[in-house]
Symmetry: D2
């Protein structure tokens, strides 16, 4: 294997752990409104899944003092791929620790990104076995289509905030071999956003600029629905359920995803999205860099990026007075 061959050791985003100070309300939101299935409980956590997630769960909802990201977990492509990434992380100076006994998968190898978010790698996993009443009509499907709420199909991606976006990108590129498909560079040269992928999806996660200098914060988690029409139906479903709709439906200019953002009861931002037939097939995809001026134009069809998109993250800011270096109004993030 040549030194500059692409690293393909990460298969996909496996699950995201969300912290919520309102666990019961959050659970009702994900089951009744999002249409997800509860597939396990342990300790302070309830585990949930979309009907097309092949693993036991894609969302771990954990009761907590506050909101935000617990951890984000990626499945390696093979046991050897997992070993290679752990070795790379250690060689890079990262502290890697083993998290044993998690529901639904083998040892979770955890580490922190430069901004302090907890990530996890694992390989062994439990495939979802639907109980009789959730068994699908077609054998190539993990679970019955629920016909309830917004009918989440599968976990798609998540987005964190980072004080130094560029440093975080470099960390994931060199240690996990992820590819940056798109990014935003301000006129000052600062990186305001970046989108990374491990596979043919145009992104598995993104980092955008933390406007208040607080590390480790979370922006949103995204679930894939099956069509743009399903996103529009979801907007009505959220409206009727009294869920706060922050912005959308509209089409992002960055990545061109059709999106809709809401806040779940625990305060975390949740997106439902659809990518059409878009895939990143080129193994040598050339990163798209958006300028500050280009981002000021707003979303694809002209919608201005909403103020709170630059300011709302979880957990909430320790004190609203302390916010500084605010990007709001620049319209640069997507």
């Amino acid at each position: 294997m040549a030194d500059d061959e692409p690293i393909l050791d990460i298969a996909h985003l496996g699950h995201v752990e969300l912290l919520t100070p309102k666990p019961e309300e959050s659970l009702r939101f994900f089951v009744d409104v999002m249409g997800m299935t509860e597939s396990g409980r342990r300790g302070d956590s309830v585990y949930l899944r979309g009907w097309d997630d092949y693993e036991r769960y894609s969302l771990q909802l954990t009761a907590s003092r506050t909101s935000g990201l617990g951890h984000a977990a990626f499945r390696a492509r093979s046991p050897w791929a997992l070993e290679r990434r752990l070795a790379a992380l250690r060689a890079d100076g990262a502290e890697v620790w083993a998290q044993e006994g998690e529901l639904g998968h083998g040892t979770g190898w955890r580490f922190r990104d430069p901004d302090g978010h907890v990530f996890e790698l694992y390989y062994d996993t439990e495939w979802y076995e639907a109980p009789p009443e959730r068994r699908p009509a077609l054998k190539n499907q993990a679970e019955r289509y629920p016909a309830r709420g917004v009918n989440v199909r599968r976990l798609d991606h998540f987005n964190c905030l980072a004080v130094d976006v560029r440093a975080n990108r470099a960390f994931f590129e060199r240690n996990l071999g992820l590819r940056c498909t798109e990014r935003i560079e301000l006129d000052t040269g600062e990186e305001a956003g970046m989108w990374l992928t491990s596979n043919n999806k145009s992104y598995d996660f993104a980092f955008t600029k933390e406007a208040h200098g607080i590390p480790g914060r979370f922006h949103h988690v995204t679930f894939a629905l099956d069509s743009r029409e399903a996103i529009l139906q979801a907007a009505d479903t959220f409206l009727e359920a009294g869920v706060f709709i922050e912005t959308g439906p509209h089409k992002h200019a960055v990545q061109q995803t059709f999106f809709l953002y809401v806040y779940e009861p625990g305060g975390n931002r949740v997106e439902v999205a659809h990518a059409g037939a878009r895939l990143i097939l080129a193994p040598d995809w050339k990163t798209i860099t958006w300028t500050e001026a280009e981002r000021r134009r707003g979303q694809a069809w002209g919608l201005k990026t909403i103020e709170s998109f630059h300011t709302h993250g979880t957990p909430p800011l320790p004190d609203p007075e302390t916010s500084g270096g605010d990007l709001s109004g620049t319209g640069i993030a997507s």
Copy 2:
């Protein structure tokens, strides 16, 4: 690298060469009705593309005495990946020859599958550069959305017929490292269909049983549209243009693709399809095997597989009287 690590050397299907005895009519079909863009001409070939294909072209349309597949080409993930696959093919006894001077990419390394179809591997490629009048509004898109005909987004997959489907599958699995996501096995144990992928798409190509014992025949090429609604609109567009609609729109049980089949003027079957948000993310996906009884149920929502789906391939049969071992009526292929 461990011996049983997944092989990830093939990046994606790059282009398909279709032979047509009616080159002018076929070209008009692909440009006016399919909404594709002509991006080159050389010799007997015209080259075409969908608006989201990142390479110069995804369809080579070649004037010929008859219809059928010229060749199907796959892009390797890297120069080293290409070398590894060529070495594997040669070690397996395949004759591999270099095709120089093709439009839009470096040396094409060609070989035949056991059934005689010509395949090609390449790495170096020409990225499409849109002329001013085809330049898109968003910089992360290859070409302007045409708003013409059925608005083909990109090449998706193709399907060939094979006398011995199982032998063909084994050839691609062991030499190219492709993964079989779904297959059909008759009660006799014979393999009647198989779907292979190199990436997160649920298939890059398929082989189904040749009912007449004639090797090297072609079943269809498929282009991805951007929604199921676009497939329904395409049905009207085909209807208005006088294009023969063979079957659909409907949803396949196998792979769950939403599909619509037509015949282009040269006689080749062409599909437009949409997969929703479906992706094969598991690196160790467990092949789904459909039985003869399961396939008899028809498509996902009960549509019976149309007779001609088992009999029509290109080039046409040398003589209609010679057909034997006909699978028609068994409803086993999708």
Copy 3:
């Protein structure tokens, strides 16, 4: 008012009473799978509605020895319009009787069409008042969008069988002033189908040829969903719920409605449909007449009309041996 002015006395189809020998299973189907709301019970009947039906109910489900149509009711445009139509019916020799005490509307004036089906006219009606938990977010909507099952929006139309379709059409044209938007005429001159409307919908009900000479039978009732994508989602919902899908989704040639037919547990055929933005706006619309040859081409995109579409009606035939004059295979009805 001139003698040949259009009669506009009927406002719209108000409700349909379906008879079912399996009342509990039928109720579960309409509530859980169709996503309708129960809005009343009286005697052997349960009353149901779609979220956009403005009246208290649009479906009366009545426990019965067998299946079929109880009655179909139309709301008049005004008290005077109602009087005019009753006078016309009586002058034409129809027996008209008052049905008092029905749930949700004033006196129902009933009569039989020449084929024996019971129709009803009424004017006074009860507007649906949603209880707090069903109250919609937008005040211009009758009830909350359910986000459950196939999310029936409103009653759309129904279809009955008639031994003499032409006689039935003439009856409704002369007595109710309904307009025939499309019809099918066989080569023999016999009328095989006709579609009547009272408003801008392209049809409120249809009659197609009864193939077995049995009067008074019912073909299907249709509910409007909000998009073609919703029809496709409904196909999956029916599939998962084990509901028998007879044919579709596809687009009718006649009236161009996008359709999907299933059987509810009581045996009655139920359609979900979407008309796009199609309306009959012309006050002097010229009836479209389809020939036998044209109907043989099948549905809009070529789907052949399924055999059972010509034979299955409710109640079931008294004895399968008695069927005569069978239209099956002629492909003439839509």
Copy 4:
């Protein structure tokens, strides 16, 4: 006929005449981008149509010194209905004059609404006869589906500005018998918007408050597309064609229409919209009145009404300095 019977003399909106100071650019917009068909030329006017408009045209595009509405024409339900409305107008003191020799229909009887816009009533009309190359595959359709641009299906409605909205509403209710389905009433008691219909569409036209005290101005004309997905596709088509997108796609709270607004080259605002399966079927529909507070919440899913929506009308204001009584920022119109 009782005195308080509903008046049903107007069948539907027939056509709208738009004035444009850039006739060539406007024509190219309507043909190439909107996908409409030119169906006539006379004097300074070009006549255009959507593929489902049954009359010869629905849009008259007239070269002019400035932009705005030429006139809006409604077809009566019958010759007698036309006479009745003309008599009512005259009895009400309106000046009614005959416009002879217009393309495609009989005498146009014109009058001004209290705000000065020119309206027209007519009955005799020319049904569109498609030339061979525009002939549709299905005989119940006026013209071939174009598969070009945004594929306008038919004219849907228009919106004018009025200094005294309430006076304008009363004029149309008492003289044409139109029904007001929804309206906006400010806290001051002033009427800020009203939507009128002659049929089952929820509106044929609307009037919203003119913020600058200038009578006779135009807000937008709307064409129906066939699905919400088509509106989303249209957004891309407009984006690629360099057409200014003002706001949308989104769903109106008022009337719940899914909308997208652009400016055509002549400066007039043009909307493409889809209503789902929504119809006003109740003959005694109870007008929905929105309060100022309710309108401040923005559109259905929370989009704030864009500033220019309250200020941009055609023709442009004589002088930007003269504007007064500006509603901008109140978010009250939809």
